[in-house]
Amino acid sequence: MIATSMKRLVDVDSGIISREIFVNEEIYRQEQERIFTRAWLFVGHESQIAKPGDYFSSYMGEDPVVLSRDRQGQIHVFLNSCRHRGMKVCRYDEGNTPVFTCPYHGWSYGLDGSLVGVPRFKEGYYGELDKSQWGLVEVAQLCNYKGTIWATWDPKAPPFLEYLGDFRVFLDGTLDAFDGEDGGSEVLGGVHKWVIPTNWKFVAENFNGDHYHHPTHISVEAVGIGPGRTGEARHSDVQRHRRHMTSFPEKGHGWRGGPPQSLDEEIYPFPRFELPEAEAYFQAAYDRRKKIGAPSPPTWMFGGGGNVFPNASFHIAFPRSICVSHPRGPLHTEMWRWYLVDKNFPDAVKDHFRHYSMRYGGPAGMTEQDDMENWCYATAASKGPIARRYDYNYQLGLGHGGVHPRLQGAWVSDGEFSERNALSMYGHWAEMMDRAD
């Protein structure tokens, strides 16, 4: 482990962060040990493993895992590595199976992870192998939160809801249906997966609280990709001036969008859709929210996003998605992107969302292509010996904001432009990196 305290590289008070944390090989290795084995990580969605026997191959940091549903309907997350000699027991992206049989020497495991079959058990192991000790390695804790599956390897990590704290309202805004129905969303089939030459924190930081990067997106705004109609910008002006940054310094989570507030009568929170089915659906959803008095999502409807520390980023609406930036060395990241829709969307509305998701996000997304160009060449230009000597500046809006009036442990900016969210994220990151136990 590195002798230096990470707090020397991350100066939250003056808004200065060393480039080393984005490019240094040793720091990266310490992150693997101290962040990714301890934090709660997003693994997949319940709707991907709807039936007993269903499985979905995923990752927690660099470790391959399998998300499965056993015969009793119980959900598990295992390390995808045979206990005998480490072979990946599942090399399919998804499917349904009674057992995982290792292709190397043939050990087989049930969907609950138990070792159920060992070739030559009698004549090779003389019946002496204690199979109960050699099941697949299971995560220490797992949480199904409104259909999203989260897990951690750390038995001492706080329970997921405590880990989230009041940041939960932002995740609720993403996982509830647009009419406020609790957990009324599901994921579309097909997960975007691609590799980019950047440090994973560039992605997390961008979702967590960067609203300063409008110049990145001038070309997509010039084109006008929707979501309501062609020629229209991605977000409304009404929403723009109400944006704020909210972050949780003790937890590392951040939200860019706005503070939670009650449903504002004067401001209709959705885009106006050209597609009649979508317009009708969202108008009805709005009316229903008002009627049942559903807690209003944080000024959201035209967009906004956040990051659950360390690397589960999300967009709350238009598009609605979860984006995990899996670390792949200090200079590479494997991006995985799921798109969420209301379970109750009529087909036409679902299709509209699917199309908008693809033209907005992922490697072919007209928005994110330009983000990635910036993250990748920022990484490339930060790794030289001279570049590393010069810190990054995070002083945007520094000192302009205060304690959030309603959310426990949260800080909120005075206006839209602030880099305090990133400082909250890196402050927490440094804390966790320095903690040895």
């Binding site: 399919y92 499917g95 089939g189 070309s219 084109v223 699917r354």
Partner: protein, 184 residues
């Protein structure tokens, strides 16, 4: 004894294949020369431009190997409007992912005709198969190689071939490029 050869029909077929090949090669020129507006003109107004994702699946479960339209998310599932938006974005000059512009080379080969539709003896549409290698070199050393198959349905419109449906099967699972700012 050799089967009788219908020289007339064979010749017609050969000319048709050559015609389609020429069409694809000319298309490749438009793309590599970044004449995107002219390229857009090669598509019918109701075109579907689809690039599914590819899954690793168990033997025999091939129907799940490729993401489905319209049920699932793909890399591209565009219509003429979205293709036009992409072209417009490239022509802003501030689309940073392609500014400065990349060097791109399209190699199309293995062109064959799978099905011919005729009306009153005239060919009105053809289903074709082909292979592609798309090479991209960007800025200094960034290089991507996209290899795969294409299935195109071409329709005869006003004496010209137009692409009515294009399915692009890229032979990759995790996309190995950082973005898809090139057309296929």
């Amino acid at each position: 004894m050799a089967a009788a050869i219908d020289t007339g029909a064979d010749l017609e077929r050969l000319l048709l294949v050559r015609d389609i090949e020429e069409f694809f090669y000319a298309e490749a020129d438009l793309l590599d020369e970044r004449r995107f507006v002219e390229w857009l003109d090669l598509f019918t107004d109701d075109v579907q431009y689809l690039m599914p994702m590819r899954r690793n699946v168990k033997f025999g479960e091939w129907e799940r190997e490729t993401t489905k339209s319209p049920e699932e998310v793909s890399w591209f599932d565009d219509n003429k409007t979205t293709l036009t938006q992409r072209v417009n974005q490239l022509l802003t000059g501030v689309h940073w992912a392609e500014e400065p512009r990349s060097r791109v080379c399209h190699v199309v080969s293995g062109v064959r005709i799978k099905e011919v539709t005729t009306q009153n003896g005239e060919v009105t549409a053809v289903d074709t198969g082909s292979r592609f290698v798309v090479y991209r070199n960007r800025l200094e050393m960034e290089t991507d190689l996209f290899v795969g198959r294409r299935e195109d349905t071409l329709r005869r419109v006003g004496g010209q071939w137009k692409i009515a449906r294009r399915v692009i099967l890229l032979e990759q699972n995790v996309l190995l490029a950082k973005n898809l700012t090139v057309f296929f």
